[in-house]
């Protein structure tokens, strides 16, 4: 059996174990936390007997172990339950909101990663130059600035002081052109990308620097290859490995960033829905979100391991 299959199987088993742990802890905390669904908003003046009947209907009066087991058995069949508040399938509710979040996160991912590759490589090649210092300072600033504060400052300047950009939302009611959408995206994108650019660019710089010192680069230089060819043909392909790994591992982080950005700019995505549902104790939504975030993190880790295996022969030989 080849080593990747073996690793995949071992990791799959570990992931199942970890997911069981995460869902069990989430389940227990959720149920022992004070506050039940519909209790957070007393102004609703719901009829207590009606709420009680609703809970019975949804089997919330069952003992906790049997509730958890029945949740598990439904999940194995791909059924994540129905929202207590919206009375619609959880997956459906999230899929409706996913495109808005993906539009934001994926654009930001591509933007910040490509910018980081270009500037990080420039900084590494011109080590100690003005470019290097500027990239270093930008990266330090990007890591140090709280996303929600940056968002507020941008909004104050570019939406209120200078009325150039729309302050919130995804499109102007009645608007709906592509330009309108792009204008709404500018500030959320800047906020979301500032942090991830700062994070990626230092890895790109390290990775490229690491390759620049390698023996094969010295050989290529000794052969008399022009620097641009050395960079494109020898350095970048090798530097790509750690960069891809870091980018893969950062995917869950992008979603956490989206949570904050979406709240600042009232972006109609998953992030706002998740916070609202958690505060409203919508049990099935909470379980699904925690499950999928843990799954996403585990998959990102696995992806990084596989990339390592594929590209580093030493890891394979050690097995």
């Amino acid at each position: 059996m080849n080593i990747i299959t073996k690793l995949l199987m071992r990791r799959a088993a570990q992931t199942v174990f970890i997911l069981l742990g995460v869902t069990l802890v989430t389940f227990l905390m959720m149920h022992y936390a004070p506050g039940r669904p519909f209790a957070a908003n007393p102004e609703l003046r719901l009829d207590p007997t009606a709420v009680e009947r609703w809970f019975q209907l949804r089997e919330l009066d069952q003992p906790l172990p049997s509730q958890y087991l029945s949740w598990l058995s439904r999940v194995t069949r791909g059924d994540f339950g129905i929202s207590l508040i919206y009375n619609r399938p959880v997956t459906e509710l999230l899929i409706e909101r996913l495109p808005a979040t993906l539009l934001l996160t994926l654009t930001s991912f591509l933007l910040s990663l490509s910018l980081a590759v270009v500037l990080g490589t420039a900084a590494a090649v011109k080590r100690g130059s003005v470019i290097d210092s500027a990239v270093g300072a930008a990266s330090l600033a990007g890591i140090s600035v709280p996303g929600f504060w940056l968002g507020m400052i941008l909004m104050m300047i570019f939406a209120y002081r200078l009325p150039w950009l729309p302050a919130a939302g995804m499109r102007t009611p009645g608007g709906g052109t592509l330009v309108d959408l792009a204008a709404h995206m500018v500030m959320p994108l800047v906020v979301l990308s500032a942090g991830s650019f700062a994070y990626y660019v230092r890895f790109v710089r390290f990775a490229v620097l690491d390759c620049l010192t390698a023996d094969y680069v010295r050989t290529a230089r000794a052969k008399g290859l022009p620097p641009a060819i050395i960079l494109i043909r020898h350095v970048l392909p090798n530097a790509a490995i750690p960069i891809v790994t870091v980018a893969a591992l950062s995917l869950p982080m992008l979603f956490t960033g989206a949570l904050i950005t979406e709240n600042v700019f009232s972006w109609p995505g998953v992030g706002r829905f998740v916070i609202a549902s958690t505060l409203a104790r919508d049990y099935p939504v909470i379980m699904f979100v925690n499950f999928s975030m843990a799954m996403l993190t585990a998959l990102a880790n696995l992806l990084a391991d596989i990339v390592y295996l594929v590209v580093d022969p030493r890891v394979r030989l050690n097995q």
Binding site: I18, M29, M30, S144, V145, F148, W149, T213, V289
Partner: protein, 281 residues
């Protein structure tokens, strides 16, 4: 020559980082003496005043002095950052040292727990915990400290694996030193460099998390001023009162920036890999 320059740059970062940290820390420490007003004192006739006229950073929606509130908020941020760092470093070092030194079954169990904590979506953990307990200072510290250690544990474990086969470990074992003695006196001191860098970089991350919790209304609750909950209030007055949001955020930025600078400086000074790099190019 090149090596000397690499070290010089690290030194500058370390110096500036330490000076900035000292400034922020003394602002926090001496908040009672530096504050021009009681941070909780409301003044209904003076709300949303711009900076100046006895209020260095202006006043907030209840006429409270923003300068004084920022000083007390910085106090909380730094406390959370540093205490949570010590908590995480203690847990991470213990876990990592045990896993790395003993290996085998101990290692497997500890590393699976580490994976579990690492994968756990901590934001939702926070949301749930905040609902169970009132979000007080100790809770925020505990949440950040108890979820932040897996990275440190992995780091220490790696160092232990590297060091436990070293000759000095073997000779210590040969003269009959006990396992705890070897770990504490021989192995950990050798892992101090990377641990110090990680610990320093943990502080800004914790400060940022605390501010984020405050912004979402999940941190320490008003009227206690924290930089995060001040920004939460400020977001409703952005159109008319720029100073309301600007100053608390600026203090988060400066605190986080200072620790990052120190961490980066320590890294370029102590990290073997970057030292090797600085010999080249």
């Amino acid at each position: 020559m090149a090596r000397r320059r690499g070290n010089g740059r690290g030194t500058l970062q370390i110096m500036v980082g330490i000076i900035l940290i000292l400034c922020v820390a003394s602002a926090a420490l001496f908040a009672p003496y530096l504050a021009s007003h009681d941070p909780l004192h409301t003044d209904a006739g003076n709300w949303l005043r711009p900076p100046g006229g006895g209020h260095l950073f202006g006043t907030d929606r209840l006429g409270r002095d923003i300068f004084s509130r920022v000083l007390y908020g910085t106090r909380i941020s730094l406390t959370v950052g540093i205490v949570a760092m010590f908590l995480s470093v203690s847990i991470g070092t213990t876990m990592g040292a045990l896993a790395g030194y003993y290996g085998g079954f101990t290692d497997t169990v500890i590393m699976r727990i580490t994976d579990l904590v690492m994968v756990f979506p901590s934001l939702f953990l926070v949301l749930s915990l905040v609902a169970i307990f009132d979000p007080a200072l100790w809770l925020v510290v505990a949440v950040i400290g108890f979820t932040g250690w897996p990275g440190l544990a992995r780091l220490v474990r790696g160092e232990m694996l590297r060091l436990r086969e070293a000759d000095f470990t073997a000779s210590a074992r040969l003269v009959g030193a006990s396992a705890p003695r070897i770990i504490v006196l021989h192995l950990l001191p050798n892992a101090l460099g990377p641990l110090l860098i990680s610990a320093t970089l943990f502080v800004p991350a914790a400060i940022m998390t605390e501010a984020g919790l405050g912004y979402f209304g999940l941190g320490i609750q008003p009227p206690v001023p924290t930089l995060g909950n001040m920004l939460r209030d400020a977001q409703f007055y952005m159109r008319h009162a720029w100073w309301y949001a600007a100053f608390p955020g600026l203090f988060i930025f400066i605190s986080v920036f200072a620790f990052h600078l120190l961490g980066e400086g320590l890294r370029s000074r102590f990290d073997v890999r970057s030292a090797r790099r600085s010999n080249y190019a």
